[in-house]
Each structure stands twice: as C-alpha cells, then as structure tokens.
Amino acid sequence: MGNRLRTAGMVNRMLPYTTLPFYEKQVRIALRNCGIIDPENIDEYIARDGYLALARALGEMTSDDVIGTMKDSGLRGRGGAGFATGIKWEFCRRSRATPKFVICNADEGDPGAFMDRSILEGDPHSVIEGMAIAGYAIGASEGYVYCRAEYPLAISHLKTAIAQAQEYGLLGENMLGSDFSFELHIKEGAGAFVCGEETALMASVEGRRGEPRPRPPFPAASGLWNKPSNVNNVKSYAITPQIILKGADWFSNIGSPKSPGTAIFALTGKIQNTGLIEVPMGIPLREIIFDVGGGIPGDKQFKAVQTGGPLGGCLPTSALDTRVDFDSLVEAGATMGSGGMIVVDEDTCMVEFARYFLTFASAESCGKCVPCRIGGQRLLEALTRITEGIGTDQDLEDIDRISRNMKEASLCALGQLTPGPVLAALRFFREEFEAHIYDKKCPAKVCKGLIAYSIIAEKCEGCMVCIRNCTSDAITGAKRQPHVIDIEKCSRCGICTTVCKFDAIEVN
C-alpha cells in the first residue's frame, strides 16, 4: 500500500485554509494551536515553541522586563473590560503583602459563547504557560483556574496538562532550574454567572458564597484571602507567551492602535459559518459577519448583532461599518465583552430578543444589592408586558428610569450592565417597541400575544395535514374543504405553517 499512495498525484485541486473566506481574514494567536495539536500531549505543544516564552522569562528577563513587555505590547484584558494587562500586573507586583495569587477567570457563562472553553480544550498548555509567566512577573507562587463544572472536557484536559507540566519541571518547584516555583490549582465553579465577576469569583474560590463586594480595594491590592491577586481571562493568558516570544512590537502592530492584537469571537445565531474566529482588532463588523461569517442563511435580511453577551448590546445594519475594538464598540452602543457574537435576522423580534437576555441576567442576579435584584425583575416585567401586548407609555418610562438607577447604583458589573441589551434595543429599534405598545403589533410576527394564525381559504387544499399536526386541536375542517383555525384554542406554536405544503397559513 505504501508505494501506491506515495506515487498517486492527489492534492492538486485542494487549497489551503487561508484561501477559504472563513479563514482568509483570521489571524491566529490565541487559537494558534487549537485543532492543530493533540492537547493531551505536551510534546506537541513544546514542538511548537511551547514553554519557550516561560523559559526565556525565567532565564533571561527580570519580572520588571516581563511587565515592561506586556505594557509595551498594549494588550488589553480579553475578559471584556479591556483594562491594560501590563498595568494590572504592575499594580500587583507593587503590592507588598505576600503571598500573591494568579487567577484565571474561565467562568465563561454568556449564552452562545465558547471561546474560553475551546482554548482550554484545544490548547490548555498555553493558558498554563501564560499564568506561570504572570506568576513570575507579579511574584506569585500559586495560581487558580476558576472553571465552570459544566466544562468537563476543558477541566479534564487542563488537569492532564498541569500534571504533564509538573513532570517536566515546567510547573512546581524550581521550574527550569530557576529559583521560581509555581503551583497551579483548578477550582470548579457551580455555574453561577455572577462568579465571572472577579470579586465574586474569588469569594467562590475561598469557599464562600459567590457574591461580589465593592471595589476598591481591587484584587491587585487585596484579592484572594485578602492577598494581592491578579485576575485575567483565559484568552489574555493564552496570548501572553506569544507576546513574550515575539515581542511587544510584533503584537502592538497587529490590530488597531488603541486595541492591539486580535479579537476572538464565537459566531452564532443566524449566520452561515457559526464557529470560533480570531480576527485583527479594528476589522469592520461587516467583514466579520458577511466575509468570515458568510452572511445570513436563506434569503433573510440581517437585522442586528449582539456583542458582549447578555450584558452587551445589539447593533443594527447602520452600525455594520463600526470597527471592532474595545472603544469603537462602546461608542457605537454595544460592548466588546468576552467574545460572544450573536447574529439575528429579520424574523427576530427585538423586544423579545432583549427580553431573553434580561431573563437570563435577572435570573443570575445574586441578590446581594437591591438595584440589581429588584431592578432586573421590574425591567423584565415591563418588557414582558410589552411583548404580551399590554405595555403602555409608562413601561417605556419605567425602563428608562430603572435602567439609569441600576447603572448608577448596582454593586457590580452584572447589575450595572443588565439594562444594556434593553437600552441598545430601544435606541436602535424603538419603533418596534412602539408598534407593540401603540399598534398592538409585533412587526417580526413573533410575540404570541400579538399575532394570530389564519388559513387562506383560496390556497387551502383541505389535505388535513395541519389538523393532524396541531398541538391544541384548534384546526377543523373536512377533507378537500378549506380548514379553519379557532383563534381561541390556538396556542400560536406555528407548527401549521411549517407543515403546510400550500403556503396557506397566514400570520397577522
């Protein structure tokens, strides 16, 4: 067999990924090994210069050199807030108390987001190496990865990777023959969204209830067990070794001046190429959605894209030329967030869309502070009334007032940002809210309280398929006679529209 396959001419018509629209505009830094190497084999990571950055840092750089490189690179934290990573490390370095801790926030909880999971599953050593470098920089000898228990494969790969790194002397005592020691633990979270907030996360690591506390003091001064701690996201740590290896200039020349490097997004929703992408910062939103993402499936029109997850905001067609980086997205009315990007088409009701995120955020409120605990509920009630067709002017006023209070007075980012999706939807799709309230109509024909199904008699062939499939026995009629839907009985599930072969069901 061997001879035959060596002589066969074969790959001439195949092209490299880099010519595929999905990959053409991608620049893979944090994702460089994902899908390429066996994540459970440390040698494959080492073969691709793995742990070389750590070795360089320990052997050739002082802690201040490492911090200087990180500052010069301009890397901004990829968890969402975009705070300068080097400066954060410097704060922690300067704190006098010991011991210090390095913490990796892997509590990825946004619906439709899976960036951190993919990195931990596909390239766990990059995160370990980044954390060890951070430990060396700030003077910590212990670290925690806080990962949700719903990510069993990520945790399993991470455990394997930590054990391998320890065996090789890349973690543990006197790493690579230096006098630096670093130990890494995994803390499995129970899946509370609020534990992605750094003070709640640390409380949870300590074994306490995952509730945030006011900042300051910031973790760099007083974090885990009241000791100086550095908290970064999975992606920030995964990028770190590449910056140390290739230099600050290399990194700062990628992306946009104020947001250097790449942005990692989980593309989901009504988009052709759902998947995980890494693109240079500053790329227009349009190129992500229509070139990398391949546009909207079917003949449907793009309507909006939600960035920043349930605490972010949506952007309409008019914002498609926005350049994707930390500052431009905020200016446009959304946020960068951790990297979820949910695309919706014309069939989505923006009021219902906002209500979905609000349902999530208010359910995940920890309840410690009043603005978030009660404000979220009241906002949700107002939105629910609107989607049910019983909303009034007062609801719009309430949304405005409650949102302002939540933003100003909530204890942590969860409460402060909960109104985000509603406010963005109101800003860009106000007419849709007004149609629900004043005209009692859902323009996207989604909200069940505002739509009615009926059968167009001229089109109905009387085949009885809809009658057999109706979940609430609301359709009647004889064979070969036009059928009729009883509005009182109809649960508006929409099954009749999907089963009708004659396009005879109408939604109004």
Partner: protein
C-alpha cells in the same frame, strides 16, 4: 520523562519532539479528529469509533489523534487525513457512513474524496 533544568534542555527536547512528529508525518498516515465539545456534540465520538473500526478491519496502520476545535463548528465533525509527506486534508461533516470510502479512497488508494474535503491545513500554521 525529561525534567528540564534550563532553557537549553527545553530547546533540545523541542527539536527532538519536532523531529519525531515530522518523521511520523513523513513516514505514515496520520488521522486527526476534532474532539472538542463542539465536535463531540456533532457526533465526533461515533465518527472516531467508525474510523478505529475501519482501520482495524482493513488492517491499515495509521496514527489516530484527537485534537481540539479549529473553529469551523458548523462543519463538525471534522476529520483530517495526512498521508506521508502530503498536506493535511480536512473533511467536513463526517458521519460514520462516510468513513469507509474516506479510508478506501484516500488512505489506501491515495485519492482525496474531493466532494467531502474543504481544503488543507496551511503548513505554516
């Protein structure tokens, strides 16, 4: 099991690991299956089993590797086949039913099943 005492130990080990990997890629067949959560959710577990079964039934010697997610979630399960010294060809939406033909045509006879393949992993990656 190495234990690195300095950067040179690591560099030596890297060069050796690289050589071993390249020697493997240059002398035999390597098959990669995307076994991240996204792949598994799309059925990569069954695909992996089908590949194992097909290889053993036909007595084909190949190195089978699990890898993470390369990003094309919509096209999972993803399977790459790399023949000795050849590019790493990626097949998309691979269900167990497709496996026998991929092994027969590509692995045994050296012909890429073009209608199922999307391209190859750029060597510089």
């Amino acid at each position: 099991m190495p234990r690195f005492n300095n950067i040179q130990d690591l560099i030596d080990w890297r060069d050796q690991a690289l050589q071993t990997m390249q020697a493997g890629q240059n002398s035999g067949v390597t098959i990669y299956v995307g076994m991240g959560t996204c792949g598994l959710a799309a059925g990569a577990g069954d695909t992996m089993e089908a590949i194992q079964r097909e290889l053993s039934e036909r007595g084909v010697n190949a190195q089978l590797k699990s890898v993470g997610c390369i990003g094309m979630c919509v096209k999972e399960p993803l399977v790459d086949i790399q023949l000795a010294g050849q590019p790493r060809i990626t097949y998309v939406n691979v269900n167990p039913g497709m496996v026998p033909r991929m092994i027969e045509d590509h692995v045994i006879n050296g012909n890429v099943v073009e209608e199922w393949a999307i391209g190859y992993v750029p060597p510089e990656w």
